[in-house]
Amino acid sequence: MKIFVLAVFAFVMYFIITGRLNRTIAAMAGGLLLLIANVFSSPYEGLRQTVDVNTLLFLIGMMIFVRVMEKSGIFQYIAIRTVKVAGTKPVSLLFTLTFIVVLVSSFMDNVTTVLIFIPITIAITDILQINPTPFIVSEIFASNIGGTMTPIGDPPNILITSAAKIPFLEFTLYMVSINLIILFFVDLAIILISGKDLRKEIPEEFIESFDESKAIDDKLRFVTSIIFMIVVLVLFLLQKQLNLESSIIGLMAGFFSLLIFERKEIELFLSKVEWEVIFFFLGIFIITGAMEQVGIMSDIAKFLIDISKGSRIMFSSMLVWISGILSGFIGNIPFAATMIPAIKQLPQINPAVFSNIQPFWYALSLGVCLGGNLTPVGALANVVGLSLLKKHKGTEISFKEFIKYGFVAVAISLVLSNIYMLLLLEIMK
């Protein structure tokens, strides 16, 4: 069964990497094949076990919401204001944008962050008539880096911190500095790679000629949209207190905004949701779930522990690198979920060496969250961000093209993380 699951995974990956076939169809076909082949006790049981309905519904809701908000001109307005503040250098613009993205995504979902910032960014690059690709890619990276910083920024972190019972502030304290450093070097690398796209200086008069008030067609709608957005944001921030699932907030936001602003176009908006992305995730959820089910995930965990039995440094480095590279290809949530019990067992395996497992939680978090930047399918934010770029500008970034950026970004992230881990191991003796 393990071999069969791996074969299906390889088959789907082949189509994703080569782009031979629409990747959604490939992922769906792979997922269905696993369901029909009875990898799980029954096909519907498999769906129930593996598919994260919460995430999918949340995505559907937020996609509708952002699309409706977009029509009020609110993103263009923000874009023009940002450009006027950030000045005439694309490079400084890139730093500003990614820094804001990191901050926002450390408290909000990476996908939400990307959903909001990509339309703004595309509006900006349209105004300045520069290539949006480096901006989009660096923002996707920034959203994943930002997610690594706090216990609530990225789903694996939620799992890790709740299992290890690390307080919010303590975790954030250890993670902020290293991630900001990583962001700086990743940005620098992107600027070097994309070269002259970003070196273009934009004349001041050109920027001044834009009038943000022209972005607003309908003042009433603009104002109500802002109020609506603030309400949704507050709901997300108070999520814990109100005990609301993010899927419910997302769906409510999406469908209420549809009802309020676009009553006549409901069907159009529903059909324009990025269903391709939703069903891609559906397929991927099933495939990763199957890998977990047949024990491939725990095999990896066992392997990791076996090769680094006696050394803290070896184990934490391997944890960073292996989980980092794997996260580019397989879902990082199930992987983190499998590693957590494995790490917890370490003191029993070798009590002399692994008396303090505290630093390994950070190694795991850095690996799985940052590794997602490696490929276009490594994290939710990557897929959503790239599909938005395709929708707005028609430019499709191929697997190979993305991995050029992704490889550099992940290499920088993991090297820096590894160095940081050596430091942490010293601190947390």
Binding site: I25, N54, L251
Partner: protein, 410 residues
């Protein structure tokens, strides 16, 4: 709390009646609110209250239809029929009616209407047959056909998924009634057409470019065969439908997003909303008084007959899906208490026939009159539509009643 949930339920249905254009979104939102009121509900367990099998069947079939349409399967079939009739217009009309019935029994009713009504209108033009009669008949046969299989129309898909009866049992129990009503109705129509029998030459210029359509049609028939055998192979219909659709997409190799925009999301969200509303009502045990009332007469012959006629009438105003969901929860509980499964057939027949009663009762009717508006610059008024439908619907109702009585007596 109970009252509040009931109030939300009523409000949701009020929107369905009075604001049908936005009812998918309102129903969905009311559904979420109702679920939230229950408290302690985890959305990850959505599959417990929303039947994913229903959604997968609908979704899979919608994708399949999109692929079939793209490859001209429907055009090819209609062209074959016109050619086969060799200019005999009566033959053409009757064949088209039968084709509408058969295709609707497996595919979406609206799609068949979209293909065939324009052809019927064209025939009406050259033969001076009453086009209203032809349109009404086409709509009726489309709804009728949809009633006869487990995948024919959304209400039947819901009934199939909830009742867990087999695909074949739907055909065995419902198809004979459908065919009987079809034959009687065709016989009556033919009497009307007799005096104006007419022969015409029909142009030979074919629009079919290749025989690829036949391949896709064969693939679709294979899916249907698999569905008929679903109990033997041990797969749910939903999985078969999605698998079929995915394979066709795989063969086609197109962009997923273009295909998926053909999917009728309105219907899907409406169904999810209705399921959520019903689950809330069920959890609050608001159906309990009704169930107690009916369980005392659960084996009586009158129960299926009441279900048949009341659901038929209600469908005229609420449209088929909301009525189906309303009834199905009660019927499922009654059946688990020992009532006969005939109640499911009564419901399928009721909403299937009732869908013809008013121009707003089913999507098919709305689309049908839209086509009429486009080609003939006039619409059928509410009363005009309902009056001409009354006779065939009553006919269907009477035949169904006889069927239910006979089944009870056996």
């Amino acid at each position: 709390m109970k009252l509040f949930v009931l109030f939300i339920y009523a409000l949701a249905y009020a929107f369905i009646i009075f604001r049908p254009q936005i009812s998918s979104v309102t129903t969905f939102l009311f559904g979420i609110v109702a679920i939230l009121l229950l408290g302690e509900f985890n959305f990850a367990e959505l599959s417990k209250i929303v039947d994913f099998n229903t959604l997968s069947i609908l979704f899979g079939m919608m994708l399949t239809i999109s692929v079939l349409k793209e490859h001209g399967v429907f055009n090819a079939i209609s062209e074959k029929i016109v050619k086969f009739s060799k200019g005999n217009m009566i033959k053409a009309i009757l064949l088209i009616d039968v084709a509408i019935f058969l295709l609707s029994s497996l595919l979406d009713n609206v799609t068949t209407i979209l293909i065939f009504i324009p052809i019927l209108l064209y025939i009406a033009d050259i033969t001076s047959v009453d086009y209203k009669l032809l349109t009404i008949n086409a709509i009726f046969f489309s709804n009728l056909g949809g009633m006869t299989t487990a995948i024919g129309d959304p209400p039947n898909i819901v009934i199939y998924a909830v009742s867990k009866l087999s695909f074949l049992s739907f055909i065995v129990n419902l198809m004979p009634i459908g065919i009987l009503v079809l034959l009687i109705q065709i016989f009556m129509t033919k009497k009307n057409l007799k005096e104006i029998s007419y022969n015409t030459e029909i142009g030979e210029n074919s629009t079919i470019k290749s025989n690829l359509w036949a391949l896709y049609f064969a693939a679709f028939m294979l899916v249907v065969v698999l569905m008929a055998l679903h109990e033997q192979i041990g797969l749910e219909l939903g999985l078969i439908a999605i698998m079929g659709a995915t394979l066709m997409l795989f063969a086609e190799g197109t962009d997923f997003q273009t295909r998926i925009s053909d999917v009728d999301w309105d219907t899907l969200f409406l169904i999810v909303g209705l399921y959520m509303l019903n689950a809330a009502l069920e959890k609050m045990q608001l159906f309990a008084p009704l169930i107690n009332l009916f369980s005392s007469v659960k084996t009586s012959i009158f129960l299926p007959i009441i279900v048949l006629w009341s659901s038929m009438l209600l469908t005229g105003f609420l449209s088929a899906l909301p009525v189906t969901l309303m009834y199905i929860t009660i019927i499922r509980q009654l059946v688990s208490l020992g009532a006969p499964t005939d109640l499911y057939w009564a419901l399928a027949l009721g909403v299937g026939l009732g869908g013809n009663l008013t121009p707003i009762a089913s999507m098919c009717n709305i689309i049908g009159s839209n086509i009429l508006k486009k080609y003939k610059k006039r619409t059928l008024s509410f009363s005009e539509f309902s009056l001409s439908m009354l006779k065939p619907v009553m006919l269907g109702g009477i035949i169904s009643t006889i069927f239910l009585v006979v089944k009870y007596l056996l």
